[in-house]
């Protein structure tokens, strides 16, 4: 008498409810993760600060201009987006110590030793009428040039690609191959008014 069999619970309804929840989460959520090109803006100018003219040697600057027709010019030559990476890479690396390309300063870096760090700065100017797509493409090509150089340096000193390194070595490589992009205030030639 004491050992009465408990009747089996009907759990079909439970799975219905969990299906309902499942479909709800499937529909309301977006799987695509947040991704993009991270950048840092320069800190805001203090009110009392004067425009300090920093004297940068001409050979250390790569002038990248993007106009409102989405055409790119690098130091005066009009090029296509596809060629920008090679230009930027040559500029940052300066493998032959060309006097027209940026100078390098030997600096001691933890984990690498003395490394000739390039003083090159990319000066990026865009027009107010430039399309955002082209702007991202240009940023992407510059990033690609730096990433490839970082990969090469990592392989040379640590035998691994940059992504596979631990954070201390990554920091060392970042110090060896800095990414210097300076954004000039945009120009405005697209609207008819002169400015």
């Amino acid at each position: 008498m004491s050992k009465r069999k408990t009747p089996g619970l009907n759990t079909g309804a439970m799975s219905d409810i969990s299906f309902l929840l499942l479909t709800f989460f499937l529909l309301t959520s977006s799987i695509n993760t947040e991704q993009g090109i991270p950048r840092k803006l320069p800190p805001p100018k203090a009110d009392d600060a004067q425009d300090v003219k920093v004297d940068i040697n001409r050979r250390n600057v790569l002038n990248v201009l993007v106009n409102f027709r989405d055409e790119i010019s690098v130091n005066g030559d009009i090029i296509l987006v596809g060629d920008l990476k090679a230009k930027a890479k040559e500029f940052f690396a300066n493998p032959t110590n060309d006097p027209s390309l940026p100078e390098k300063i030997s600096k001691p870096i933890d984990g690498i030793g003395d490394f000739a760090v390039s003083k090159g700065v990319v000066s990026l100017t865009n027009d107010q009428g430039t399309s955002y797509n082209m702007y991202v493409q240009v940023q992407n090509e510059l990033q690609r040039a730096v990433n490839e150089l970082r990969d090469e340096t990592s392989l040379q000193y640590f035998g691994k690609k940059y992504d596979a390194l631990d954070s201390a070595s990554q920091r060392a490589v970042t110090q060896a191959i800095p990414m210097n992009i300076s954004e000039a205030p945009p120009m405005d030639y697209s609207s008819n008014g002169s400015k």
Partner: protein, 160 residues
Amino acid sequence: MSRFKKDSKKETPELNMGSMSDIIFMFLFFFMVITTMREASLKVKFQAPSATEVQKLEKKSLVANIYIGAPINKNENTLPPGEVSVQLNDQTIKAEDLKTDVRDFIGTEKESRDAHDRDRLTFSLKVDKDVQMRYVNTIKQELRANNALKINYAAGKKVN
């Protein structure tokens, strides 16, 4: 013979549904963990440009989104001179309120994070790829003026 044919009408045994709901729950938790709710409904057209060197953002809870694109509804606020709206939270902002709205937005986003997370807060610019840079530049200027320096140009991964 009738002795053996006694129960020819065999009942199908009831299926045990208990384990099925276990599996469904597992799915459910999986989706709950990997997804985030869409926090605001989009009021602007947004199609991200694609790039090869995209990086994943570290933490989703440390990202605040700014959408810029052509408005989906005609009667949304737009910025001069043209057909582009900027959406913060769930509203498009008016041109004359741009400065205060952006400042308030940055303020509340920073406020809602822990003190030690405030510097890691990233402002993700979700800009439609057809938008002209003038609007992006305006927003960037405001971000910079309000000391929100960590930004991200949202882009999809380009498949080669």
